[in-house]
Each structure stands twice: as C-alpha cells, then as structure tokens.
C-alpha cells in the first residue's frame, strides 16, 4: 500500500523531491492541512501559493516544505508570537535560521500556533485559540511549541521548528509523540527569534524521527556573528551519529526525577526504556541532581525577569498594536493592557517585581546563584555518566482547561525540562511508549554541552530498536 506523501519523514520527502515530486508533496500537505486545521488549529498562517521556481532539487532540503513557530522572524511575513500586541507585525528581516533554511532549499509553508510569547506549557494562551492534541483533541498538545508538535504529529508538516526556553520543544514533543531537540545554548543562532528568556532560548527541530532531527540540525547549527552568544565550536555532520550502538555509553537516571507527582505509567515507561538501553549494552546507573527541586523557582525568577525586560519594547511606538491616546504615558498603559494576554501580564509583573529596587538581591540574584548550583549538579553528574535519562514531562497530555486557572500547577509541568535550560546543555525528547488510554509518553536524554552527537546516537538506537515512532494518531 502506498503511504500518502504527508506521512513521509523529512528524509523520505527529500528523496521524493529530488525525483521531481515536490509539487505532489505540497499538494498532499495542502489537503491534509485544510482537512485537519479546523480540528487541530496547529497553524496560525500558511501559504500554499509557494514560488518553487528557484528551488534546486539538489539542495540539502530540496524544497521540502517546513513549518516554523510564530516567534521566528520571516522577512515580509506577519510574525506575531500568537499575541494581539504584534498583530500585523511584519519583520523587515529574516531570522538566522530562516536564512539557513532558505539557503538549504527549504520552503516555509506555514507558521505554527504557540502560547503567547512562548509563555505556557499547553498552547492555550494563544490569541488564535488553543491547539489540540492530535492523539486526543480534548487534550492539550503541550507548549509552548504546541502548534509545531501537533502539526508534525498530525502529519500536517513534514518537520517544524520550535523554540525552547524551559521545555517548550521537548514537553510538546513528548505530549504529541514526536522527536524534539533543544540544542546546546549557543549552538543555533537566536538572531531573529523574538526573545523570551535570552539566556535560555534556543531554536530546535520537531520531527517525526531522530534522523530528521539530525538532518535539520546540520542546517540550523553554526556560528552567527550577529548573535554574541553564538558558539564558535565546529559543527559535525550529525547524520554520522545515526549508528545503532550504545555499548560504550553510561546512562544516568537521576533519583530526584522519579518521585511523587510522576505519573505511574510515565515512570514505568521511562524505566522500561532504561532497561532497553541496558539490554543493548549501555551501563545504567542512578545519579543525584540534588538541586532539582529548586529549578522551577529559579526559572520563574530569572527567565521571567529577562522576559519582563524583553517585552518592554511592545509599547505601540514603532510596530504592532497601538491604542491611540492624547498623551504618550496613557498610550503605554492602554496598549500593553489591551495587547497582552493574562499569562503575559503575570510574567511581566513577576519579572518586574524580582528586578525592582529592594528585591533584586533576594530574588533575582539569589536565583542566579542557585542557577549555578543546578549547573554544577549536571557537571558533576557528567563526570560519572555520558547521558542523563529522565521523563520529559511528569504526566501525559492533560485536558484543555485543566490547569488554565492554576499557574503554579502549569509551571510545575516543566519541572523535568527546566533544569536543562538552566544549565544550557542539550536534550532531546523522543517517544518511549503509550499510556493505557493511548496517549504518547516521552523520555528525555540530556548530554554535556555540544554533545548532540551522543544524544542522536542513543536516541536513534532506541528508536530503531523499538519502532514506537511508527504508531500514528487516528485522525
């Protein structure tokens, strides 16, 4: 039986495009998106009217259409972070990753829904309405890159880009049963990514397979002189790491991640994955990351402080929404009050408070210090092990609305992904099983800075061994 083109992996689609099948892929995706968009709401904008005349079938991506999160600037295309305050905002420049995708011959098919300004873990705070989980449309896809994850899971996109500040690629990848990589901080240029937490943000791929993730990382990674925090390290060919062999690897399971609050089925699935690695020859050991319980607190001080400052520029002066007033001071209040959703206001207020006079030392500086302790935990653990294996999210996808009124409960759903951003290390989420009700479960593999290759090798080995990725949601 012939699989429809939209089900193809990036690797497969590139093969088809090289043989002249690009238009057919595009058509298949158009039909798929038009059929599913009302149900899933994965996109905020798409454009099927692509000019393919300049596409070289010999380029790296051979014109294969991709989707990007709505916080990555595309020259001449509306880019809004799913926020009312940026309605109509059209950047006059391409983000570095967009330049790289274009140079590699990719077609940008559409922009994916997200939590407003990437503030959220459920994709419910978007001004375009919530995205739904393709495995169960009464549930959230995770967030903030929920649109990207849902689009890939529902075969509405061959692959997509997301951004990850505290788990925004990995947690939705986990909840939607796809592969999501947060690269080492500095590996992918942030130039053109509308900032949330500047010392945390990284762009990364959401894909159907580990191989696709490696293919995209070959395009995305590399030094960019326009980003002062862009790393100079040479970029390896990540597809060379796609080898089924984990015999030399030491994998650690941090005791602090398998505690109360962790869903029993998730716990079981991730432990089973560890057992699979052991069977394949890896060494499994329990490690300690003692400052883990402080991660969420640190994150909601430091990242949110940066966010409050980064979002000051949305003031109605140069771009986006402006509520006209007689006097400038009122314009700021009216515009920002009207333009930001409630979660954005919550974080702006929190970030403003922790930086304000009299509280900076007790909150912001304290948070930065504990961030040091959390980083140190990881560096010490990596003396003993090469990779750290954890659940990506403590629970599978939750119901839409379930945590919407309890911000703290929502924040705690990123408890396993946040420490990775606090440390700047790379980590992937790949599917490792399903709950009894058929919801995907994801596991997270983290490595030392710039050791994405180890992550790819272990993830690829597991994926090829188990074949979990072949199961698709029924839509």
């Amino acid at each position: 039986m012939n699989r429809p083109f939209y089900e193809f992996t990036l690797k497969e689609a590139i093969g088809v495009a090289r043989e002249g099948g690009l238009r057919e892929i595009l058509r298949a995706l158009r039909d798929r998106i038009q059929a599913l968009q009302p149900k899933i709401n994965a996109f905020v904008r798409y454009d099927f009217d692509q000019d393919l005349s300049a596409v070289s079938s010999q380029s790296v991506v051979a014109g294969v259409p991709l989707a990007v999160k709505d916080n990555i600037c595309i020259r001449g295309k509306e880019t809004t972070c799913a926020s009312k305050i940026l309605k109509g905002h059209t950047p006059p420049y391409d983000a570095a990753v967009i330049e790289r995708l274009k140079a590699a011959g990719a077609t940008i098919l559409g922009q994916c829904n997200m939590d407003e300004f990437a503030f959220g873990s459920s994709c419910e705070t978007s001004s375009f309405g919530p995205t739904r989980n393709p495995w169960d449309t009464t549930r959230v896809p995770g967030g903030s890159s929920g649109g990207s994850a849902a689009a890939v899971a529902a075969d509405m996109a061959i692959a997509a880009l997301g951004s990850d500040t505290g788990g925004s690629i990995r947690q939705p990848a986990s909840l939607c049963g796809v592969v999501g990589l947060k690269p080492t901080y500095g590996r992918v240029s942030r130039y053109g990514l509308i900032a949330f937490g500047s010392s945390f943000d990284q762009i990364g791929p959401l894909t159907k397979t580990v191989e696709d993730s490696a293919i995209l990382m070959n395009v995305l990674a590399g030094h960019d002189p326009r980003d002062s925090t862009s790393a100079m390290q040479p970029v390896p060919d990540y597809t060379k790491s796609l080898v089924c062999d984990v015999r030399d690897l030491r994998i650690g399971l941090p005791a602090e991640y398998f505690v109360e609050g962790l869903d029993r089925e998730v716990d079981k699935s991730v432990r089973a994955a560890a057992e699979t690695f052991r069977k394949l020859g890896a060494t499994i050991k329990t490690i300690r990351l003692p400052h883990t319980p402080y991660s969420v607190a640190v994150y909601y001080i430091v990242a949110v402080a940066e966010a409050s400052s980064n979002l000051g520029r949305f003031d109605g002066v140069q771009y986006g929404l402006r509520i006209p007033t007689k006097e400038i001071r009122e314009m700021y209040f009216e515009t920002r009050d009207e333009g930001f959703g409630v979660e954005a206001k919550r974080r702006i207020l929190l970030g403003t408070f922790v930086l304000s006079a009299g509280y900076y030392e007790a909150y912001y500086r304290k948070g930065q210090k504990v961030r040091t302790l959390i980083r140190k935990d990881f560096y010490e653990a990596f003396e003993e092990v090469d990779l750290i294996l954890t659940p990506t999210s403590p629970t599978p996808a939750f119901k839409i609305g379930e945590k919407a009124n309890d911000p703290l409960a929502m924040y705690l759903s990123d408890i396993f992904t946040i420490p990775v951003n606090l440390s700047g290390i790379p980590a992937i989420s790949i599917p490792c099983g399903f709950t009894s009700s058929g919801l995907p479960i994801g596991m997270q593999l983290a490595a030392r800075p710039f050791q994405e290759e180890l992550i790819f090798r272990a993830a690829y080995t597991f994926e090829q061994e188990t074949g979990i990725y072949k199961t698709k949601p029924k839509l």
Binding site: Y93, A195, S198, E306, S309, R313, Q318, Y319, I328, L355
Partner: protein, 482 residues
C-alpha cells in the same frame, strides 16, 4: 551665613566610531531622519547586539588619559525604563562593572594676582552606553516625532566626584576634559551636534558642615558657559532657600538660557526604578593588561604634558602655555609657527592677541585661518629683522587676512618697509633738531619726555617707517654732541 557649594558633573561624550555601538549603522551626523537605522538599533523583536570593538578601545583610551583604573573584567547591563526615544524600553549601559573607574584630572584656576593654581578633580567612573533617539516636540501640534538616527551611537558617560566647588571650577573642568578628549581624537566634542552633553549636580551647605545638602540635577545645558551660569543661578537659588529656612527639593531642573533661570521639570513620573540586570545578549569582556599597555602606547601627548613642554622649550609662562594648549588646534598652529624659527614669545603674543581677535572677527576657526602659521611667522620675521615695526605689523595682519598676500608683498606694495638707512635718519634728525632748539634744551634740562616729541617728529616725516630704536640712538648721540 556663609555657604559652600558642592558640584559634580556627568558628561556624555560621543565616541568617534564609524558605526554604532552594537550594530553596523553609520554614526554620520545630519542624515535624513531614521536613515541610519536597522533592526538592532530600532530594537526590533528578535534583533541582537554585538559590541563594536573600536568603541571599547576608545573608551579605554579615555580612561587611561583620565588616570582611571581599567577594568580587568567588564559586562553590560540593561537599564529599564519607558520613553519613546528608547526603542527597546531599556538602554544597554554599564552598572556595577564599568570599563573605567577611580581616575582624576587636573584643572587650572587663575588666581586673582594672575598666577595659576591646580586642583585635582576625581573621576568616579567612565562607562560605555548607547545613546537614545531624538524627540522633536514642536514640529507637529498633535504629537511628538521620533528620529532614531542617534539611537545606538556609542557614548562614554564620565562622572566626576563632587570635587568642584564653584561654577568657575566646573567650567574649567569641562575645558580641561574637552581638551583631553580632543587630543585623544576620540570626539570633536561639538555640543551643537550633541556630541558632548553635560548634566550638573549641585548642592549647597553651610561652610564647614560635613553632611551634604540636598542636591538638584540640572539638565538642558547647551554650552560650557551655560553650565557655569546655570550653576551660579542654582547656587543662588538654593542659598536663598536655606537663608529663609526653607528646604531644597531633590529634583531635576531644566536650564532656560533665554531667561537665565532653572525650572523644575514638574514631572509626575514615579521615582525611578531602573531594574538594572546583566545584559544576557552580550557576553562578558576581559581586558588583558597587555591590551591596556598597547593602548597606552597609542596615547598622544596630552595637554598637561604639552603645557610643561611649551614652558620648557619655548620659555612660555604657565598661563600663556595653558591658553595655547587647551585648544589642540591652536597649539598645533603655534608649533607650526615656531618651527619657522621665529621668537616663541612673539609667536605666542601674536597668536593670542592679534590673530585670535581677527579670527573672531572673521568667524574663522584657527585651522582654517586665512593666515597660516607660516604666513604669521613671515610677518613676525619682518619685525625681528627690523624690516617693519610692530606697529606697522598690526596694520599688515588684517590686510593679510583680506588679501591672503604675504606680509612681505604687502609692505612692498604699500612701501611700508622700515627706514633703517642711518644716513637718511641722520639727515632728518639734523633738520628736526635745528627746528626744535626748545625741545633739545628741555631734554638737556632733565625732562626726558622731550625726546618723545623729537622722535614723533621724525616718525611723522618718515610716515612711521623709521626704525624707532635707530631714531632714538641717533637723536641721543646728536644731542650729546651738540
């Protein structure tokens, strides 16, 4: 009751880089509004800053010239506030790890008796930051216009210790600082183009009191003289308040040049809380001691060193040397002139008096003077070799300004060559002595000023061209013989 004032100055100087502090936009002045902008200096979402290496180098250069400690490690911080000239709603500045700290500069104050004494003024810090855009309030009736060409231009904010105790000292501090910055060629310090700006902090306290009084900050100071005048006004205002047992309000006041007064800004703005925190988009910087020494080697001769050299090499007095040196271009002019082997003392006098007056009259800058240093030296040489008198020379210089002819050509044309022909002067002297026996008698009787009358007669006869020294000698000789 006697009071003393305590003054500190904050000077913002634009560093003379070609491109902005964090992006490659041009720093050229006078472009069409918003022409020199890009996503970075407009603060567009997603854009990121990268530090201009030259800006840091120039900042260190100034730090060294101001005897500052150059930080081993520095970082940038965000200063958060909302204002339409600030595109990102934060300014990238330096908070607790400035590039330069703990320096000083010397100011020279003229004593009442014409001498000069020095005073050391501390520099608290000099840090790098980006400039904001420009707001135009008066162009349209229903709004304010914004031009971001200036946004992101590199500034060095130089903060003095409150070591200045009078408006005159504040003025001299600015003159000295400007001279250093110009010698370093880091800025032309053109206040009209906003390349040097100054805010002043001033408080007044009873003489002898240790505790500082409440200070006010004065803004909108458009010239060094304005700083001096505004401070004098503000000190008077604060003193009157204290005299009448009132309280000085800590506030920002604007100087109104036309009315010669400061006015409260009366802003309803809440107390500032800038929420400084380390700029995550820029990495930290370390400055090796080797780099500092390399930059130190590029420092030119600075004003203080040049004053000493002028005193030593040219025999100038402290004051003359200072006046010439404080403006780098006049110092250069002077040295070019002296290089022609004319008397350094005469060159100094001629530049400071006659040349400066004519430049002022013609509204010309010294570097564009119609009479160049070599031309002036030509004129001085004619005085030195007795071709013309100093008096005639004063008539020649304005003609040089007008016609751009050499002094030599002018005196030839005008037939102003000094008469040094002894026989001719003797002939005239004989005639004059014969016609004025009375004067001769008076002189011989001891009234020395009678000689002046005789000299005057000879000068009249020669249309002022006789060498006065020669005339004197000949007259005395002839009277003695008679």
């Amino acid at each position: 009751m006697s009071y003393e004032s305590v003054i500190g100055l904050e000077v913002h100087v634009q560093l003379g880089t070609k491109s902005k502090l964090f992006c490659p936009c041009s720093t050229e002045f006078g472009a069409e509004p918003n022409r020199h902008t890009c996503p970075v200096c407009l603060g567009w979402p997603g854009s990121l800053p990268v530090l201009n290496e030259e800006a840091l180098r120039l900042a260190i250069k100034v730090g060294l010239a101001l005897n500052c400690h150059i930080a081993e490690r520095l970082k940038f911080d965000r200063k958060n506030y909302f204002y339409p000239d600030l595109p990102k709603a934060y300014q990238i500045s330096q908070y607790d790890m400035p590039v330069n700290s703990k320096g000083w500069l010397m100011i020279q104050m003229r004593d009442e008796n014409g001498g000069v004494h020095q005073k050391k003024i501390g520099i608290t810090r000099a840090h790098l930051e980006e400039d904001a855009g420009k707001l135009l309030h008066e162009e349209v009736p229903d709004g304010t216009l914004v031009d971001y060409n200036r946004a992101g231009i590199p500034l060095l904010e130089i903060v003095s210790e409150p070591d200045l105790s009078s408006p005159e000292e504040a003025y001299e501090y600015l003159v000295s600082l400007k001279a250093i910055l110009q010698y370093l060629e880091v800025s032309d310090c053109d206040m009209e183009k906003g390349r040097l700006r100054c805010d002043a902090n001033v408080s007044v306290r009873k003489s002898g009191e240790v505790k500082l009084g409440t200070k006010t900050e004065i803004k909108n100071l458009n010239s060094f003289r304005a700083v001096q005048k505004a401070l004098a006004y503000e000190i008077r205002r604060q003193t009157e308040i204290l005299d009448s047992k009132g309280r000085v309000v800590q506030e920002t006041r604007l100087w109104n040049e036309d009315r010669g007064q400061t006015f409260s800004m009366r802003s309803k703005e809440e107390a500032h809380d800038y929420r400084y925190f380390p700029e995550p988009d820029l990495v930290p910087f370390t400055i090796s001691r080797q780099t500092v020494e390399d930059i130190r080697r590029t420092l030119p001769e600075l004003p203080a060193e040049r004053v000493e050299r002028f005193k030593k090499d040219y025999g100038l007095g402290e004051y003359d040397a200072l006046v010439l040196v404080q403006d780098r271009k006049s110092a250069h002019y002077y040295e070019e002139c002296v290089r022609e082997k004319v008397s350094p003392k005469m060159a100094s006098n001629w530049i400071q008096s006659e040349l400066m007056a004519l430049l002022k009259l013609h509204k010309a800058a010294i570097e564009n003077s119609p009479v160049g240093p070599k031309d002036l030296a030509g004129l001085i040489r004619l005085i030195e070799n007795n071709t013309i008198s100093g008096k005639i020379a004063k008539d020649v210089l304005p003609i040089m300004f007008e016609t751009r002819k050499s002094a030599e050509d002018i005196i030839k044309e005008k037939n102003w060559v000094q008469v040094t022909d002894t026989r001719l002067i003797e002939e005239i002297a004989d005639r004059i002595l014969a016609a004025n026996p009375q004067s001769v008698a008076t002189f011989k009787a001891g009234k020395k000023q009678a000689l002046g009358h005789l000299v005057g007669q000879i000068m009249k006869e020669t249309q002022g061209k006789a060498n006065p020294k020669l005339v004197n000698e000949i007259l005395l000789k002839k009277i003695a013989k008679s």
